[in-house]
Symmetry: C2
Subunit: 131 residues, 2 copies
């Protein structure tokens, strides 16, 4: 199976597959006589694993950790859970940060008339000197 078919089968673009190989997330694929990368069922399995981990927001280094644990028959579920929960903590921090932006902005926007007049608490807040 060529890279295009692997991409179609997994939802990971050919570009990404090559990149993952380049940065060492994937073992270099076998090549055909012409130098084409050749993929087999286990490769697709790995690609889908990566795809799902990426969709859950894991960074490539984290995905790399997860792949290693996945292949490590001697792993403990504790290790896996630790990676996942660390990521959850990061996600929650990010959410809190974004939410506080939303809170501030909606608080300001509520007081903005949104009409033809120029006066606006949003700009007023942005130009205030403190902080």
């Amino acid at each position: 199976m060529n890279i295009g078919q692997a991409a179609d089968a997994t939802g990971v673009s050919a570009k990404r597959i090559r990149y993952y190989e380049q940065v060492g997330l994937l073992e270099p694929a076998k090549r055909s006589d012409a130098g084409y990368r050749v993929y087999t069922a286990p490769d697709l399995h790995t690609l889908r694993f990566i795809q799902r981990a990426r969709r859950l927001g894991f960074s490539l280094p984290q995905v790399s950790e997860l792949l290693a644990l996945w292949h490590d028959r001697g792993r403990s579920s504790r290790q896996v859970k630790a990676v996942a929960m660390k990521h959850v903590d990061e996600l929650r921090s990010k959410i809190d940060e974004l939410q506080s932006m939303v809170d501030t902005l909606t608080h300001l926007a509520i007081r903005c008339d949104g009409d033809e007049r120029p006066d606006c608490p949003i700009l007023h807040d942005l130009e205030r000197s403190e902080s």
Copy 2:
């Protein structure tokens, strides 16, 4: 006032100030005889405006829009509110996306024993073939 002092006074690093000038967010600063950038009170005001907008998560193009509106005496608060609310929508989308990752992961992690055994629903989910 030199760039270092302007940086200290506004919380915008010298590096960032130069970058903002380079990408056109800021007017090129006046220069001293020696070629040093020189900043005055209104410049600091603008830098603080940018700093606050950035902290609220506005992208540099959005900050640019806000700066233009700020300087436009003929602006309507409607325009300002539109920029802000569009950003709020983007933030909320991002929050929803991150929250659904958190939900999925916590759901999986709850069922992970987190002990010395290798079996783990998190890896199990990542390697499942669907999706």
